[in-house]
Symmetry: C2
Subunit: 705 residues, 2 copies
C-alpha cells in the first residue's frame, strides 16, 4: 500500500501532537488501560481517551467517539473488540485521522472469519487513504516525543535505531534487554498482520528520516518482494538496513506459517532478494543488535585492513583468526609506522600486526601503539584488545580509545576482556558508539558489518539492459500452448529463445519424414533428431534422441523415433521430430539457465553448470529478475565451479560474456511475460565463441497471456 504513505503521513504516525486511544479505560489488566498509562508516562503530546462508557479516564476528558473530539488528531490507537474494530477505524477515517494503529487481534491470524474481517479493514483503510498499522499489533513508539503507544511494559531509550518487528513479543523482550544495555531507538513499530502498511513502507519512511541511522527488522515474510527490493535499494544508499528474516529452514518456515499464516516463499528467493535489496541479513538476535550498534555508532572504514592492538598474545591470535574468517584483512604497517612502533615499544613487544604491547603495557604505551596504528594510511579500522593486568586501568583505556577514535575518524571495536570491572569502561565506549565484547570474534564481525555496508552503499544499481527483441513472435509461440490446451512447452518453443536473441542451433520441427530430410539437407553436416511431445519428458530414456545422423539416414531415423515414442506411450501427443544442427559439446561446457516464480519475489533466475553440478553438487546462483549486467555477471562468476568456465585444466575458456548476455535476455523474457511460470534452458552450451541453447522446457499460465 505504498501509495498511501508519504513522509508527511508517517510523520503523523510517529510524531503526532495528539493521540486518540479508541477503547481507553481504567479497567485493571486491560490493554486499553496499559496504552493510556504508557502514553501518559512520557508522551510530550496530548492523549485523548475515546470510550462511550466514560466521561474521563485517568482524569483526561473522554469522548464517546473520535468524531466528537474537538480539533485535529493525528493518530488513533484502536483497542476495541474485533467485532467493532472495523467500524471504529472507519470512524477515524471519517473524522479525518490519517494514521491508525490497530492493536485489536482476531483478524487474519485466526481463521476465515478473521480473514474476512481483515479484508474489510483493508478496504476501509483504502477508502480513507489511511496509514494503518496492524491489526494484531503491540503498537508504535517514537522516542523524540516520548510516545509509547504500545501495551508493552517498557518504553524505549532514545537513540538512532528504528526497529520494526513482525513479533510483538520480540519487541517486548528486546526493549527489556536494550534498556539495561543502554541501547536506544528512534521509532519502534510492531507490524502485526500488515493488513495495510508493511516493511516496505517503513523502510521508505525511515530512509527519509534524518534521525534514523539504522533500520532494523525482524520479519517472517516480505509482502511484495519487487517493491521491497526497490525501496530498500534506495534506502541503503544512505541508511543501513539489517534484518532477521526467520523461517530460513524448513522447520522454521513451517513454524512461521503456523504463527502468522504467512505463505512462505522459497528461502532461495529471500536469500537472493534481500541480498539484491542491499539488506544486511543476519541469522540471529545477537548479530542483529551487534550490527545495529556499530552501524549507528561508528564511521565506515575506507579500507578493509584492520590493525589489532593488544597486551595479550593469545587473544591477539584469536582476533587474527576472526579477521581471517571475515571479509577484512590484516593491515600491513608502513615502514614509518614500524619504525615509530619500534622506537616506542619494548624489545619483546611485537610491532607487526597484531601489535602485542605485552602484559606490562601501561596506558601510555597502549595509547601510543593505537595512535600509530590508526595514523597509518594502510589501516582502515582497529580492534583494541586488553586482558586485565595490574598496570592497565580499563577506564583510562576506554578514554584513550574514544579520544583516538575521534582524532583519527576510523572505526574501532573494543575487546576489554573481563567481568564487572569492564562496566564503566563499556559505558564510556558506548557513549561514543564503540562496542565492547568479551569475545574478539564478535568485535571483528561487527567491524566486518561496516565493511559490508560500505560496499552496499557504494553499489551502482544500473538498470537492466533492454535488448531489442521480437516480443510479438514470443507471444505467438506462448499462445500455441493455449491453442493446444497444454501448458507445457518443449523444443517446439525454441523460437521463444530465438525471439529474445538467445542463440539456438539451426533447426526445425518436421512433421513428416520428408520434411525431416529436407530440413537436414538445409543444415550443414550431420544432425541431431529428437522426438517432440509434451507427454514425453525424458526423451533420452526412451531412445527419443539420435545424435550425428547423416542426411541419408534421416528418413529412417524419423520413423524409428516416432515408433519408439508410440511404443512407449501409445496415446502421447507427438508434435513431430526436431531436426537440429549438431552442437560441439566437446569444446563447450554445458550450463543451465532457468527461472521459476516465487510468490513474494516473482521471477527467480538460476544459473549453474549442467550435469552433476546443479543436480548433485547444488552449485547454483539465483537472482530475482530483472537482473542488471552486474548481477548476471555475479551469477556466472559466483558458482563454485566457475573456474571451469574460465578454462581450468588446460581447456579453452568459455565465452562467459555470451552466457551473461543470455541470462540478461532470459531475464527480459520472463519479466515481459508473467505467463511463463517456469523455464529451463538445459543445456546452454558455452563454447569458446558463444553459446547455444540446445533444449528448452517451460510451463505457461495461459490465463496470464
Amino acid at each position: 500500500m505504498d501509495e498511501n504513505t508519504g513522509s508527511e503521513g508517517v510523520a503523523g504516525l510517529f510524531a503526532p501532537e495528539r493521540v486518540a486511544v479508541v477503547g481507553a479505560t481504567e479497567s485493571e489488566g486491560s490493554i486499553g488501560r496499559a496504552i493510556v498509562e504508557n502514553l501518559r508516562a512520557d508522551f510530550a503530546g496530548e492523549t485523548v481517551p475515546v470510550n462511550p462508557n466514560y466521561d474521563d479516564v485517568f482524569g483526561l476528558d473522554c469522548y464517546p467517539d473520535v468524531g466528537s473530539i474537538p480539533g485535529e488528531v493525528q493518530l488513533a490507537v484502536v483497542v476495541v473488540p474485533p467485532g467493532i474494530a472495523v467500524e471504529a477505524v472507519a470512524e477515524c477515517g471519517e473524522a479525518g485521522i490519517r494514521n491508525v494503529v490497530v492493536i485489536t487481534a482476531g483478524f487474519g491470524e485466526t481463521g476465515s472469519e478473521g480473514a474476512s474481517r481483515e479484508r474489510e479493514l483493508t478496504a476501509v483503510a483504502e477508502e480513507y487513504g489511511l496509514n494503518l498499522v496492524g491489526p494484531n499489533s503491540l503498537g508504535v513508539m517514537s522516542t523524540p516525543s516520548g510516545m509509547n503507544a504500545t501495551f508493552g511494559p517498557d518504553n524505549a531509550l532514545p537513540g538512532s535505531i528504528s526497529f520494526m518487528s513482525q513479533s510483538g513479543a520480540f519487541i517486548t523482550a528486546v526493549l527489556d534487554w536494550a534498556n539495561d544495555e543502554g541501547i536506544g531507538f528512534k521509532d519502534v513499530v510492531s507490524l502485526g498482520n500488515k493488513a495495510v502498511m508493511d516493511e516496505t513502507d517503513f523502510v521508505e519512511a525511515w530512509a527519509d528520516d534524518p534521525d534514523t541511522d539504522v533500520i532494523l527488522g525482524y520479519l517472517e515474510g516480505v509482502e511484495n518482494g519487487q517493491s521491497f527490493i526497490q525501496s530498500a535499494r534506495e534506502a541503503t544508499a544512505e541508511t543501513p538496513v539489517v534484518m532477521v528474516k526467520s523461517g530460513r529452514t524448513e522447520a522454521g518456515a513451517q513454524a512461521v506459517s503456523s504463527h502468522t499464516g504467512t505463505l512462505a516463499g522459497s528461502e532461495q528467493a529471500y536469500e537472493a532478494g534481500l541480498e539484491q535489496a542491499g539488506v544486511l541479513r543476519v541469522e540471529n538476535v545477537q548479530e542483529l543488535f551487534d550490527f545495529a550498534q556499530i552501524l549507528a555508532g561508528q564511521p565506515l572504514p575506507e579500507s578493509d585492513d584492520v590493525a589489532i592492538v593488544t597486551n595479550a598474545g593469545g587473544p591477539g591470535v584469536m582476533t587474527t583468526d576472526a579477521v581471517g574468517d571475515s571479509n577484512l584483512s590484516l593491515a600491513s604497517f608502513s615502514e614509518e609506522t614500524l619504525e615509530a612502533l619500534s622506537a616506542s615499544m619494548p624489545e619483546e613487544a611485537n610491532i607487526y600486526n597484531p601489535i602485542d604491547a605485552i602484559g606490562d603495557a601501561d596506558i601510555d604505551r597502549f595509547e601510543r601503539a593505537l595512535d600509530l596504528a590508526l595514523g597509518d594510511e594502510n589501516v582502515g579500522a582497529a580492534v583494541v584488545l586488553s586482558a586485565p593486568t595490574a598496570v592497565i586501568d580499563f577506564d583510562d583505556l576506554a578514554e584513550a580509545i574514544t579520544e583516538l577514535q575521534a582524532d583519527h575518524g576510523k572505526p574501532i571495536a573494543a575487546v576489554l576482556m573481563g567481568g564487572d570491572r569492564t562496566e564503566s569502561a563499556k559505558a564510556v565506549l558506548r557513549e561514543r558508539g564503540i562496542p565492547n565484547y568479551f569475545d574478539p570474534a564478535r568485535a571483528v564481525r561487527s567491524l566486518d558489518a561496516l565493511v559490508r555496508y560500505r560496499d552496499i552503499r557504494e553499489r551502482d544499481y544500473e538498470d537492466p539492459t533492454e535488448f531489442d527483441v521480437d516480443r510479438e513472435r514470443a507471444r505467438e509461440i506462448l499462445e500455441r500452448a493455449e491453442d493446444r490446451g497444454d501448458n507445457r512447452l518443449g523444443v517446439e518453443a525454441m523460437g521463444l529463445l530465438d525471439a529474445y536473441g538467445i542463440p539456438t542451433p539451426e533447426g526445425t520441427i518436421a512433421e513428416t519424414p520428408e520434411d525431416a530430410v529436407s530440413a537436414a539437407e538445409g543444415i550443414e553436416g550431420d544432425v541431431v533428431m529428437k522426438i517432440v511431445s509434451p507427454d514425453i519428458l525424458h526423451k533420452s530414456d526412451i531412445g527419443g534422441v539420435r545424435v550425428g545422423v547423416p542426411d541419408e539416414e534421416v528418413y529412417d531415423a524419423f520413423e524409428d523415433l516416432v515408433t519408439r515414442a508410440r511404443n512407449y506411450q501409445p496415446d502421447a501427443t507427438i508434435l513431430g521430430v526436431q531436426v537440429q544442427e549438431m552442437v560441439d559439446l566437446d569444446s563447450g561446457t554445458e550450463t543451465i539457465i532457468g527461472m521459476n516464480r516465487d510468490p513474494q519475489f516473482g521471477p527467480l533466475l538460476l544459473f549453474g553448470l549442467g550435469g552433476i553440478f546443479v543436480e548433485v553438487l547444488e552449485d547454483t546462483e539465483t537472482r530475482v529478475a530483472p537482473v542488471s549486467e552486474r548481477e548476471a555477471t555475479e551469477m556466472v562468476e559466483g558458482i563454485r565451479s566457475a573456474p571451469l568456465l574460465r578454462g581450468a585444466r588446460g581447456r579453452e575458456p568459455a565465452d562467459r560474456e555470451a552466457v551473461v548476455e543470455s541470462l540478461q535476455r532470459l531475464s527480459q523474457l520472463v519479466t515481459d511475460f508473467p505467463a511463463i511460470l517456469e523455464l529451463d534452458v538445459n543445456p546452454l552450451v558455452a563454447g569458446p565463441d558463444g553459446v547455444a541453447a540446445v533444449d528448452v522446457r517451460l510451463t505457461v499460465d495461459t490465463d496470464e497471456l
Copy 2:
C-alpha cells in the same frame, strides 16, 4: 613426556599439601610476592617461601633453598630469574620434589639463548622425572584446596571445568569474567612453553579426575598429534574435551608463530586430528564457555529431538530456525501428548512443536506445557523461551524449569528474554546447570553440543585393519630411490602399491623397444604407454603418454616417446617406457588417494574425485593415518561429490568398498614407512567391480629407510 606423568604425579601438582615458592619475596610489584599472596589468601595447605635473602616472607619461615626445607614438599613454584632457574629446578629434583611449575620467562620464546636454556630445563626434568609445567607460565590453580599458585589477580570459583591455556593472559581475562558470571573451575593450568608437560598430559590427568566434568583448552598448537589423539579418545569416553585451536587461518597461523614460536602444522591436519581425537573444536571464546557450561551442567540427551516451549511466536520461530541449522531436529509429539496439550491450552495456542502457550500464559500453563513436552518419549531435550509479560514471573519460571528438568532428567536450555530482570532467574538456573541466553540460537547451539558429545562418547574406535602385505618388497622398491640418489619415484614404483594389495593394472617398464613389444604381447588388448622419468612430472603435457596402442605400433611408439622426452629435456634421466593394460575409464570414476606428512600429526591421508573435484572444487576429505575402516568409509562418503560414486545420473555405482579398502591399505603403507613423505595415486579408477591404481608419484626420505 607422557611417561613422566601418572595420576599420582598430577595429584601432587594440583593437590599438594605443601607448596614451595622458589623466589618468594615481599618486594612490591614482584611476581614472587604475588604468588605468595595468592597462595596465602585461600590455600588450605602450607606455603613454604624459599629465598636465600630472607628469613621470613609475610611471617612464614623462609628457607635458603629447597634442600633445606624439612619434610615433604609436593610442588615447587619457581620464579627466580632465568639465569638461575634451571639450577633451581635441578635442586627441586635433588630434594625429591616431583612437581615443578616454572613461572620464569626468558626461554624458548626469546631466541636462541633462551631456546638452549629450555633444552637444559627439559634435560633436568627428564633426569629427575619431574612433572614440569612451563616455563613462561602464569601458574596453576586448583579450587578444592583453594590453591592459586599463579600471579594473576583473581582466584577461580569452585566448579567442575578444568581449563588449560597456552596463553596466560587469556586465563586472567577468563577468570575475571567467569567470576562475575558465576562460572567455576576445578583445575586451571597455564601451559607456558610446554617444555615438558603438554596438552596430552593434562587431557590424561583430567580424564582420570572424578571432579573434572569438562576439559577445556585454548591451544595454539599440539605437540604430538598422534599421542594427543590416543589420549583424547580415551578421555572423551568419559569426559568431554572442548578446545579452541587458534591459528586456524593463514593470518592467525602467522600470529601464532610470532607469539609462541610454535611451528604451525597444517590447519587440515588439525581439523582432521582434533575431530578424530573426539575433541569438540570451537572457533571462539563464546562457544568455548557456552559448551563447557552445558556439558558440565546438563545430562546428555537420548535423542536429537527437541521440544520448544514458548509464550512468544516470533522468538519461537527463530528458535526453530536455529534447530534447523543444528544437528538437532524438531520433536514430533505423540498423540497422547497432543491430546493432553490440547486439553490444557487455550484454543489460540499452538500445541504442535514449537508449543506456543501464547502471551497470556501464566506459570501453571507454562509448567504444564513443559511437563507434557518433557514427558513425551519422542522428546530428547527442550528449549524454554519466554518474552517478558505481565503474567509471568521469570523467577517462578526458573524454579519450574529446574524442577521439571530434575524430574524428567532431560537437558534444557533456557531463553528468558530480558535484561536485568532475568538476573535472579539466571542464577537459579545456573545453580542447576541450566544455561540461559537472550539469543535463542546460543541456547540451541549449546544443546547441539550435548548431542555432538553424546555421539563422540558412543564412538567405537576400532583398530585399523591389518592387511597381509609384502613389506619386504615394498622396502626394496623404496630403496631404489636411495640407489638412484633421487627421492622422487613415479610409475616405476607401482610395485609398492601391488605389495600392499592396492590393485594395479598389469604392466611393466620396458627399457628397449623390443622389451616393450614383448610386454605388450603379454597383455590382452591394446596398451597404454608412458615415458618413465623422475625429471618429467607432467608426462601428458609433453606428449609422453600414448593410449590405446595396438601391439604392432608398440615398437614405434616406444621410440617416439623417448624422442619426445629427449627433445623436451635432453639431460632427463629416462628409466624406460611403461607398458600398461588399458583401464576402462568410461565405466569408472577417477578418484585420488594421497598422503602427506604433517609436522604435528604425521601422515595425513586425502581422498577426493579426480580432475576438477580436487583441484578446482577442493572437495576432499582428510584423516590422520592410521585409519580404521569406519574412518576410511567416512572419507569416501564424506565428500560433497560422493553421490557420483553412488551412481548418480544413471551410472552404475562404483565399488566404494574397494576404494575404502585401498585407503586403508595406503594408510598401512604410509604408517609402516615413515620414509614416505608424500604419495599420490592419481587416478585410482573406481569401476563397478573394483579399483585400479593407474599412476603413482611419491617422495621418499631415504635417510628414514
